[in-house]
């Protein structure tokens, strides 16, 4: 069955959205969207370095994205507003990455695959990495769920309970870098944050607890993968972009429905 490229592609997509669902909720709740962008954009540099050094793209991207995330965390609150700092770092990472890639003349054609994803080219080995990384992220989220939520509601409440909210933040940062590394093949660097934010935001109007919102985000994410494949097959459009388009349509539809619902707040 795994010989069929469509089956592999769908499994890869599902692996990514399942991990992106709980993490994406935290990205939304903690307003980390721009932070996600910066981490994802740094992946271009990771791709360039991996190709230059002939190491696994997954490992290269993971390391560079993690370094970027830590750099952002360290630099915020030192002179510039978070917003400005992230704007500088996100675009600097993308620009430096593109410059670095241009030195590797023979792979210029492949760049599009990394920027926009190439889910139909997922191989068995990729699938193992995607599901391995995804399982790791889901495990991290499940393990720290209560503490992460407490720290998200209020850092001071977490301190009073004896947890260090900065440690919880670091766990989110690591999870984010892993998701970026596994999602490149699926939607590409430029659309990774969309896969984190849109399903979570789409699920929000119909969920009364954080757990339901995470589950809802997973359902919306899976529906986006299914709908995106169907659309890309019939319309002959790029798969990654179609997946994100479907999730955006679901976001709009669910939010309108949420407002029309009687007793909606």
């Amino acid at each position: 069955m795994l010989d069929d490229f469509m089956v592999r592609a769908i499994l890869a997509g599902l692996g990514v959205v399942l991990a992106a669902a709980p993490l994406g909720c935290f990205v939304v709740w903690r307003r980390m969207a721009f932070f996600g962008h910066a981490t994802a954009h740094a992946a271009v540099l990771g791709v360039a370095l991996s190709l230059a050094l002939s190491v696994s793209i997954f490992a290269g991207v993971l390391v560079i994205s993690l370094m970027m995330a830590v750099l952002v965390t360290v630099l915020t609150g030192r002179g510039y507003a978070m917003d400005t700092m992230l704007g500088v770092l996100a675009h600097a990472a993308l620009a430096f990455g593109l410059v670095a890639v241009s030195f590797l003349t023979d792979i210029r054609l492949d760049l599009m695959a990394y920027l926009f994803g190439d889910i139909l080219a997922v191989r068995r080995g990729d699938l193992a990495i995607i599901w391995g990384g995804s399982a790791l992220v889901i495990g991290l989220m499940a393990w720290r769920w209560q503490q992460l939520l407490t720290a998200t509601v209020s850092a001071d409440l977490a301190y009073a309970e004896g947890y260090d909210p900065q440690r919880e933040e670091l766990i989110l940062t690591i999870a984010l870098a892993i998701v970026v590394a596994v999602a490149i093949k699926v939607v590409g660097i430029l659309l990774i944050t969309a896969l984190l934010i849109i399903p979570a935001a789409a699920a929000r109007p119909f969920c009364s607890t954080p757990e339901r919102m995470a589950a809802g985000a997973a359902v919306v994410g899976a529906a986006s993968i299914a709908g995106g494949f169907w659309g890309s097959w019939h319309l002959d459009t790029p798969a990654g972009a179609t997946i994100v388009s479907v999730s955006a349509i679901l976001f709009a539809a669910l939010n309108i429905l949420g407002r029309l619902r009687p007793g909606a707040s």
Partner: protein, 270 residues
């Protein structure tokens, strides 16, 4: 200070202690050389004008702010119940009252129901935190803080958003909690009137501790008067439950404050 020694709680077990505590935030000196301790079973009220560092002191005590000088020591394994001054829950985060009370530790359904009953919000388990009024929100924060039966309860302006009867009720509840849990309690307030009544010890803070001791002794302290002026006298009068001490206040209002102890809070529930 000599004042404080006589009023130290019967039990000498120190729960939390700050020694020579100094805090700087963004280059500004917020706290300086603060020596402060709370013992088991003791209600300590920290009063001081706006910007005197009251909230900063609490946040330094829970470890949210690293001291630039001095140290904070907790009793080993100290369980703290903390009621913050403000809590903003992002509207994108769906949170029912039940779910909030289960953070960070999950509790049995009956315990949650009991806690909500005690807080006067028995039907509110499935309500969203965002739908609560200011007073209700405050009572949920309080219910969460005492769910784990903390050894130390910290209340930062916890009576804000409550009306007069609600406030009086609130402070009676604080004394009840101390009596049933036997915990130490630190309260921060700029509302002198009510706070003085419930406290075993009052600490006057303005960057550093200017005076501390039994409420009545503190209100006689010139430092206290320098800080609070005439308002302090009013608070003292209320503390003594003596309306004749402050003839400038309309009799109806002072009567309300005195009588509120006998009323049940109901007006703020809606």
């Amino acid at each position: 200070m000599a004042l404080s020694r006589s009023t130290m709680a019967m039990n000498d077990e120190i729960l939390i202690q700050a020694s020579g505590l100094g805090v700087r935030l963004g280059g500004r000196r917020i706290l300086e050389n603060v020596d402060f301790a709370v013992r088991r079973g003791e209600i300590v009220t920290v009063v001081g004008p706006n910007g005197s560092g009251k909230s900063t002191l609490l946040r330094a005590l829970i470890g949210a702010i690293a001291p630039s000088r001095g140290s904070v020591e907790h009793q080993k394994g100290l369980q703290i119940g903390y009621v913050p001054q403000r809590l903003h829950i992002d509207p994108t985060l769906p949170l029912t009252v039940d779910r909030f009370l289960n953070l960070p530790r999950r509790h049995a359904r009956e315990d949650i129901a009991k806690a909500l009953g005690r807080a006067g919000l028995p039907e509110y388990g499935n309500a969203s935190m965002a739908s609560l009024s200011g007073g209700q929100f405050q009572r949920v924060l309080m219910a969460r803080a005492i769910l784990d039966q903390p050894q130390l309860l910290m209340l930062d302006e916890a009576s804000q958003g409550l009306d007069q009867t609600g406030t009086a009720d609130f402070y009676r509840q604080v004394e009840e909690i101390r009596d049933t849990l036997g915990c130490g309690i630190i309260m921060v307030s700029h509302d002198l009137h009510v706070v003085m009544r419930a406290a075993d010890r009052v600490v006057c803070l303005n960057q550093t501790i200017c005076c501390q001791g039994h409420p009545e002794a503190v209100s006689a302290d010139p430092e206290y008067h320098a800080l609070f002026g005439a308002g302090g006298d009013e608070a003292l009068a209320l503390f003594r439950h003596d309306p004749h001490q402050h003839p400038h206040e309309p009799p109806l209002e002072s009567g309300n404050a005195g009588d509120s102890e006998t009323k049940k809070a109901s007006s703020d529930a809606g």
